[in-house]
């Protein structure tokens, strides 16, 4: 994991995710208590106008965390925001990427604001996010890294 302080404009490595299958959305439905059948049932999805079940927006937002962990280990998130722009369907592949938008020094820490983008494998922008937190140059344990 990269322990070098981030720089403004730095790009995050692309983080591929998916394609999500129905088993994954069922697992997320169970874990999140979101039992909306549009996420898990073909017929319910078709009745709502989709060609396949829709991946939960919150499952997409959940991808931010492993994408950030793959970028820096010493980054402690204190704010995250996502705007969902278009539905992602079961079977579609995804990529999370992003860029450091802002850097501010706070003592030994570096305050970082990141802009994240989530594209489908068809190149459509499905979700945009903003994450803020502190990067510490002091070593931290995994458990304290957020």
């Amino acid at each position: 994991v990269n322990a070098i302080a981030p720089k403004a404009g730095e790009s995050l490595p692309q983080f591929p995710a998916g394609p999500f299958e129905s088993a994954r959305t069922r697992r997320y439905s169970h874990a999140s208590l979101d039992d909306n059948p549009v996420h898990t049932d073909e017929n319910a999805a078709r009745a709502a106008g989709f060609t396949a079940p829709v991946v939960h927006g919150m499952l997409l937002m959940g991808l931010f965390e492993p994408a950030l962990a793959a970028w820096r280990g010493n980054f402690r998130v204190d704010r995250l925001q996502a705007t969902f722009l278009r539905p992602v369907l079961v079977g579609q592949g995804l990529t999370v990427d992003g860029r450091v938008a802002k850097i501010m020094r706070e003592g030994d820490d570096t305050r970082v604001v990141l802009r994240l983008l989530l594209h489908t494998d068809a190149g459509e922008l499905a979700c945009i996010g903003e994450v803020a937190g502190k990067f510490s140059e002091r070593p931290t344990t995994a458990a304290s890294a957020r």
């Binding site: 995710a17 994954r24 697992r27 997320y28 169970h30 874990a31 999140s32 208590l33 979101d34 039992d35 909306n36 549009v38 009745a47 709502a48 106008g49 939960h56 927006g57 919150m58 499952l59 937002m61 959940g62 991808l63 931010f64 965390e65 492993p66 962990a69 998130v77 204190d78 704010r79 995250l80 925001q81 996502a82 705007t83 969902f84 722009l85 278009r86 539905p87 995994a142 458990a143 890294a145 957020r146």
Partner: protein
Amino acid sequence: MSGREAAVSTIRIGPVPVRAEAADIAAFAAATGADAKAGVPLTFPIRWFARTEIRDAVRRLTGNAEGYLVHESQTFAYSGRISPNRDYSLFAEARYEHSPPHRLTIHGTITNDDGSTILTADTILRVVSPETMESSLP
């Protein structure tokens, strides 16, 4: 209902006791790809907003409006870390616009046992009728 103010309803919910159990954290982390060993996943608290107390209150607020909930945006702002196997309280204020675009917003606060806030969560949804679902998609 008439007038601008009457087209919006609000409801307050809570306190609702909430807790991140180890088994639930593990299941949530496995579903999202987060590292369960790193603690409670950042988006885990969304699970608390799907609890019966919240759902029932939202149903009352929307007058059992038929339709699909379309998630437009979500924000979590932490002032500390949620710990596994520890009790917290959830408070929420939900607001529903009875006229199009039928927006439903939920402002949630998670507090420690001393009343201090550890997390705020803001959810923006739209209630979309089945008839207009396709045309309302982005």
